[in-house]
């Protein structure tokens, strides 16, 4: 797979194949910096269209137990935002279409403009900010515009229609629709909230709408792909790595899961 020059190109490619895009998440530095590069390269080789490289943060209050544990491992391994940018650079060079997912404080601390600059030169295309809303994003909007970085904000089932419109005004790249009210983590059933949220968001934007939080199987991916432009999977990938005895085992498990999900978005 080759790296797309923009998120729009990645979604256009998926659309040309009449399917949703598959978006996979992994924290940088988990379980080590080198291994996270290897795992992400596997995710790309096995069928992820876009990669979300997680920036490990000490207080991930939107994440469930699996991602908390992974992030903790990454932080204990010494992962910093510099590590994250290096991981982005390496996976982008290897062909990944990559964005970063980060809580706000590490970006603010790093320097908002500096982060956008460095990410752009590393080949990253955008940033998902789960605890930043457009009201607090003044400097971020200026910096991302200046450096051509996509700003991916979230909408949630509790967002009013007016609120969705407001969030989308500041969003670029794609809209991240949180499927359920809750933290990240695999769920056996997804309920109807995600479909309803996408339906409410659709009239407000031409941007691709991607659904995350809770998707872990090919079957769920197929369901979500029937109404969304992208399917985001995080905790399920993380769990495969947590459960593997060795990095080789992890890559085998990641390959199998990615293929299952890639088949799901194509069904």
């Amino acid at each position: 797979m080759t790296r797309h020059a923009s998120l729009a190109a990645a979604f256009a490619h998926a659309k040309s194949e009449n399917r949703a895009a598959l978006i996979g998440y992994l924290p940088a530095g988990f379980p080590t910096a080198a291994d996270s590069v290897r795992i992400i390269n596997q995710m790309v080789a096995s069928g992820c269209d876009i990669i979300e490289v997680g920036l490990p943060y000490s207080d991930p209050l939107m994440d469930g137990p699996a991602i908390q544990e992974a992030v903790d491992i990454a932080l204990r391994a010494g992962t910093t935002p510099e590590t994250v940018l290096e991981v982005v650079e390496q996976v982008a060079a290897a062909g990944a279409t990559a964005v970063v997912m980060s809580y706000w404080n590490p970006i603010e601390r790093y320097g908002v403009d500096r982060f956008a600059t460095r990410l752009a030169s590393a080949g990253g295309l955008g940033v998902i900010t789960p605890d930043l809303t457009p009201e607090e994003a003044g400097d971020w909007i200026v910096a991302t515009d200046a450096h051509g970085i996509e700003r991916i904000f979230l909408v949630a089932p509790s967002s009013t229609d007016a609120r969705i419109a407001k969030v989308i005004e500041s969003t670029s790249g794609f809209v991240y629709a949180a499927s359920t009210m809750g933290v990240t983590g695999a769920r056996t059933t997804l309920g109807s909230a995600a479909g309803e949220l996408v339906a409410r968001t659709r009239p407000a934007t031409d941007l691709p709408i991607c659904v995350g939080v809770g998707v872990s199987t090919g079957e769920q991916a197929a369901t979500v792909a029937s109404y969304a432009d992208g399917v985001i999977v995080g905790s399920a990938f993380v769990k495969r790595v947590l459960d593997a005895a060795t990095i080789d085992d992890a890559c085998i498990a990641i390959d199998a899961l990615t293929r299952e999900l890639a088949e799901g978005v194509r069904s």
Partner: protein
Amino acid sequence: MTVTDALGHFGPYGGRFVPEALTAALDQLDAAFRAAIVDESFRAELAGLEHDYTGRPNPLTLARRFGAECGGATVYLKREDLNHTGSHKINNVLGQALLTKRMGKTRVIAETGAGQHGVATATAAALMGLECTVYMGEADTKRQALNVARMRLLGAEVVPVTIGSRTLKDAINEAMRDWVSSVEHTHYCLGTVTGPAPFPEMVRYFHSVIGREAREQILAAEDRLPDAVAACVGGGSNAMGLFSGFINDESVQLRGYEAGGQGVETGKHAARFAQGSPGVLHGARTYVMQDEWGQTIESHSISAGLDYPGVGPEHAWLHDIGRAVYEAVTDTEAMDAFAVLCRTEGIIPAIETAHGLAGAMRLGKQMGPGGLIIVNLSGRGDKDVATAARWFGMDLGAGVEVSEGR
């Protein structure tokens, strides 16, 4: 009062840094709060509870013998320790519990450090027939075991948090995670003047009764305003409650005392103003103890209630504009002040409160006999007996469990 903008900022601080899923709930809370405080029936109901249930107004006690230890300054204690449940925390909780009912929600959740806010929340939940879950760092459940038992007796579920530093910071993370999932029927009864807007402003409002009473009482007793008002500052709700009564009186110094732990130079402390820097934690921009990469640094204090790496955003603003002054008080200084108050006034303070008392001793010595100081006696120390006994190397005798203290 410091005025916030429409988005809940105090200067550059405060605001809302939360998952979008919580925006609707915060908007709902903001609307309910603003409607309630101009609704006579709400104000009357809250005032009635404060009077008949909490036991307000509580006294402003002249501490003659303690004042002698404060350079001879005249020192008054605002007796929040005499409130039902033993601390100032009940003021905020009664207000939020009433709002919970107004919003039609049936469950409250809370974080707690020392356990005082958890006890207060469990109390209000029992009083108003609400379901209650309290998140508490596992380390704190051990050093504040008495309060864990109190919460359970009151019918609350206490969830020990076993992630991260296992203290207040992690309890807030877990409470936020619960709230994202349960927000439809659950109110997060946040216990201090931080978190996303409108919490800092709302919690201050419910505690402003402290400053209002203290101002009236000191004018009645001394016929003049104090030279300084002093309080310990963890998140900073008891301090904000007291400060709010005097913030427009320019002659009154506002003094906050944060936990210096084993000494600011050791790194083992919770002195956000001494060594923190502006950042975002738990939904607000404020001073945060963080490393060069923006990762939160774990705080340390003998006091569970002050053991927190962030601080209320209004305190950050008052600090920057110089309206309030914040200093660190070490564990040792606080425990010395704890002992002095016990033996001079016959009052066992909470260890959190002892930081404010140590500050008053420092301040009184600077002011001398002409000085007039109000210290917020924010809580009583029953919960800290085991920790204090261990600190002072006391033998409590058979049958008293000292090992649960740190």
